[in-house]
């Protein structure tokens, strides 16, 4: 019998693992010997997307660098829930200084390693959207423009969740936070404010910028591997749903990440030296309402009356992303 190569593996690359694939082709997270960079017992909320994404990123980076890794963490949920003194959930060399200086500290670690001739040890800076997009943004931009040899990862849950869900520069329009309450004629966060950190990063023309979500594991791991092949400043922006701040079911975390992509609200792409080189096309496009409805931070768009005017503006944002990033191409 001639055995033909069958390019269909039941779940393809959507699921975490696939017993029908060659072990070398399987994801890092499917491996029994994965690093578990952030281990059990951390105090993240039930269904935390950030805790999950941090493990995805650091396990992949550990595998890519053979464990030769130093992690610098900004203040935020990720820091607070992982290291309540004297316990630590980290199983990687890990350093925390202040809220706004993680990119600068990471640059410093990279400089120190270079000075000692230990450039085989790689540096990752990481933080939430508050520490990255707002408070640490000056330091981050400096790290980018100097092209320091650091991969900086932003886990974007779209508000300051640790301190009680205050608006950040990454909070999307119409979302309710503690500082953008659902009151008045235009409830929730204002349209036309905030910034896209990945696009700003691209403007620095650094070697690598990518976006990903906690729902696309294989894609996320591939991007970490790609980033670790390169030297210089690299930026990875990962969307991580937050059950507490978004008002979603604790089991909905992955689904919401998926819906953010499938509606077009969160474009998933890769850029090198300021140019988009790849996008993850939408598999089954859905209206934004599918993404908004399960989240209580958007509840005022549906109750007491459906605010179709606001939903249409959000849909227009999604449509623009689809056009701008060519998200409806062939897979």
């Amino acid at each position: 019998m001639t055995v033909q190569r069958v390019k269909f593996y039941q779940t393809g690359s959507f699921a975490v693992g696939n017993r029908l694939l060659d072990p070398a082709q399987r994801s890092t997270q499917a491996r029994m010997d994965r690093a578990n960079s952030i281990t059990s017992g951390h105090r993240a909320c039930q269904g935390c997307g950030e805790a999950l994404a941090a493990r995805y990123v650091l396990d992949a980076a550990s595998r890519a660098t053979d464990g030769q890794l130093v992690v610098v963490n900004a203040t935020g949920c990720l820091e607070v829930f992982s290291t309540p003194y004297p316990e630590s959930a980290w199983r990687v060399p890990w350093l925390h200084s202040l809220f706004g200086n993680a990119p600068a500290v990471a640059s410093g670690v990279a400089a120190a390693l270079r000075a000692r001739g230990r450039t085989e040890i790689r540096v990752i800076g990481q933080g939430g959207d508050g520490g990255t997009v707002d408070i640490g943004f000056g330091a981050l931009s400096g790290m980018f423009e100097r092209n320091d040899d650091v991969l900086y990862v932003c886990y974007d849950n779209q508000a300051y969740m640790n301190t009680g869900v205050q608006r950040s520069g990454a909070t999307p329009p119409a979302a309710r936070t503690a500082t953008t309450p659902a009151v008045g004629p235009q409830p929730g966060n204002t349209f036309g404010q905030g910034k896209s950190a990945p696009l700003v990063a691209m403007a620095h023309e650094i070697p690598y910028v990518a976006t990903a979500t906690v729902a696309g594991l294989r894609d996320l791991e591939a991007k970490v591997f790609r980033a670790m092949q390169l030297r210089g400043a690299r930026y990875l922006h990962v969307l991580v749903p937050c059950p507490l701040g978004w008002g979603s079911g604790t089991g909905e975390t992955i689904r919401l990440g998926r819906l953010a992509v499938e509606t077009g609200l969160f474009p998933v792409f890769e850029a090198e030296r300021g140019e988009v080189v790849a996008v993850t096309p939408i598999r089954r496009r859905l209206p934004v309402e599918e993404y908004l409805r399960p989240q209580r931070r958007y509840a005022h768009l549906f109750d007491p009356a459906v605010r179709s005017d606001v939903i249409e503006r959000l849909q227009a944002m999604a449509d623009r992303n689809v056009r701008r990033f060519h998200l409806e191409g062939k897979r």
Binding site: Q10, F14, R19, G41, Q46, Y85
Partner: protein, 541 residues
């Protein structure tokens, strides 16, 4: 305590913090009944054998089928695959081509000469099986596997029953049937053919049999009063099919009318086309959707030029022509005559209006109940006469090969228990794995493969097999379309997606465990399990 400046506590791991205490609900792994298994009249564990086939473990897959059904190659051709009707994938794109994969596995086994060893120690008991059709051979096979001495007696010259004498060769080539029967014989089942059993009690006494299984089928063509002229040529469907099977086809003429709407009617009409009839017309009293024939058979018959005349009865048959009367359905769905008559040319009329059981074998057996023309059996397939079991078309049944094979298997299990004075273990029947429990995002888009089929133009001139088989790569592809509904297939989603590392991967084939010391009960694993094999339950107090 010797610690650095300003440090009062030793650094410890977060593992000291048992976050499992937060939980109010907990995930648990479950195994649900896949709809394919649930629908299989032979009780095959379809999903399990597909699982082996997905890994190209064809022999293991075949052995898994053989645990329930000794006729995979026959099944892959003649089974009406209720599994595919029930398949959840139909709601996604199209059902998994289970039947096609089964045929591939069955053919592969014949080609490679795979056999089933009898490993059970001799039971020291003898069982007589009457009838070498699907139910009898299935019973014999399963009894032999359990260590019993089995003798099969059949009036026919060759084994197979309706599989040989009822199903036309273009659906089931005889070398396939022969190979699967020979494999059962090679296991030590004695076949005594050309041996009609008329006095069951005497045969059991003389042969020192401890129990008997009857599977003689329903081989008497149902008769109906049909006003006919002396010279009208009227035949019954079973004898037509039987003479074709024996290689002496009857002269049906150029215009053949088949009366009836079941699978047998389709078989006769399609055979008539192959024997040279230019017109083959099926006359049926009711409407198409009320026909008992399988839609696939009707469609294939139509492709081959068989014509259908719904809502019609034959009022009179004469020489070279028949008179049909139009019917209409009344409020209860019963056909009523309208009085409208029409004359049609017909060289012969074949009656395919049902089959009856020859009950003479149970005449004089105390306790056996015959109702509605069939022998009554209990859930254990035993007749009212202790030690005499029955199955297949002679008991209440939908009269398919697969159901008969299932009867044989069930009877064998109960005969074995009865002979050993034990109660058969009834495997638990878990709740059904319904489509709404699946997370279908994770399955690749994969439309069904189509089996090659003989061109209709060529079909009407030969008795060659109509439907072709799948090659290795297409069979593998088709197997991999299985969604594994309700049962873990080790996709690692739960292991990979737990934010708390609370899922323990136990290794290939061993699935996973949940570390409740750390599981916070978020439910991501439940939501993202493609197969719906994890369930949230309230935390036990």
């Amino acid at each position: 305590m010797n610690t650095p400046f300003a440090i009062t506590l030793r650094v410890g791991s977060s593992l000291a913090n048992k976050t499992g205490a937060w939980r109010t609900e907990r995930p648990v792994y479950v195994d649900r009944m896949p709809p394919c298994n649930d629908a299989c009249p032979a009780g095959e564990n379809v999903q399990r054998w597909l699982y082996h086939a997905e890994e190209a473990g064809y022999q293991e897959a075949w052995r898994q089928i053989m645990a329930d059904n000794p006729f995979p190659a026959v099944m892959g051709r003649v089974c009406y695959h209720p599994c595919q009707t029930a398949c959840n994938r139909a709601q996604l794109d199209e059902s998994v081509g289970i039947n096609a994969v089964e045929r591939f596995l069955g053919d592969e086994a014949i080609r490679r000469g795979w056999t089933v060893p009898v490993t059970a120690p001799p039971a020291g008991t003898r069982v007589l099986v009457v009838g070498a059709g699907p139910s009898g051979l299935s019973a014999a096979y399963h009894l032999r596997l359990r260590g019993h001495e089995v003798t099969v007696r059949d009036a026919g010259e060759r084994a197979g029953g309706m599989m040989r004498y009822g199903i036309p060769v273009y659906r089931l080539p005889r070398e396939v049937l022969d190979a699967e029967v020979a494999r059962i014989e090679a296991m030590g089942v004695r076949l005594e053919l050309g041996h009609p059993v008329t006095d069951l009690a005497a045969e059991m006494r003389d042969g020192h049999f401890d129990a008997a299984f009857l599977g003689i089928g329903a081989q008497l063509s149902h008769r109906t009063y049909l006003p006919a002229g002396d010279s009208a040529r009227i035949l019954d469907a079973l004898s037509v099919l039987r003479t074709i099977a024996d290689g002496e086809p009857p002269r049906l003429g150029r215009r053949v009318v088949v009366y009836g709407g079941g699978n047998t009617a389709m078989d006769v009409a399609r055979s008539a086309r192959r024997l040279g009839a230019t017109e083959a017309l099926v006359v049926y009293r009711r409407t198409r959707d009320r026909m008992p024939a399988q839609p696939s058979e009707v469609a294939e018959a139509e492709e081959e030029g068989v014509q259908m005349r719904w809502l019609s009865t034959i009022a009179h048959a004469g020489r070279g022509s028949i008179t049909v009367e139009k019917m209409r359905l009344d409020d209860t769905g019963y056909p009523q005559p309208t009085g409208e008559l029409e004359e049609l040319a017909a060289d012969s009329v074949v009656l395919a209006i049902g089959q009856d059981v020859d009950r003479s074998i149970v005449d004089g057996l105390a306790g056996v109940e015959v109702r509605d023309g069939v022998v009554q059996v209990g859930p254990d397939m035993m007749t009212g006469h202790a030690g005499v079991f029955a199955g297949g078309d002679m008991v209440p049944s939908d009269r398919t090969v697969t159901t008969a094979i299932g009867h044989g298997k069930r009877a064998a299990r109960h005969i074995d228990a009865w002979l050993r004075g034990a109660r058969p273990a009834r495997p638990p029947r878990p709740p059904l794995a319904t489509f709404d429990r699946l997370n279908t995002w994770y399955y690749s888009d994969a439309p069904a493969t189509v089996r090659p089929r003989l061109e209709p133009a060529r079909r009407v001139s030969t008795f060659d097999e109509v439907t072709g088989g799948l090659g290795e790569s297409t069979a593998l592809y088709e197997a991999r379309r299985c969604l594994s509904c309700g049962n873990c297939f080790e996709c690692d989603n739960c292991y990979g997606m737990c934010p708390d590392n609370a899922i323990v991967k136990l290794g290939p084939g061993k699935r996973f465990a949940i570390d409740y010391d750390y599981c916070k009960g978020c439910g991501i694993c439940v939501a993202e399990c493609p197969a719906g094999a994890i369930e949230m339950v309230p935390e036990p107090r």
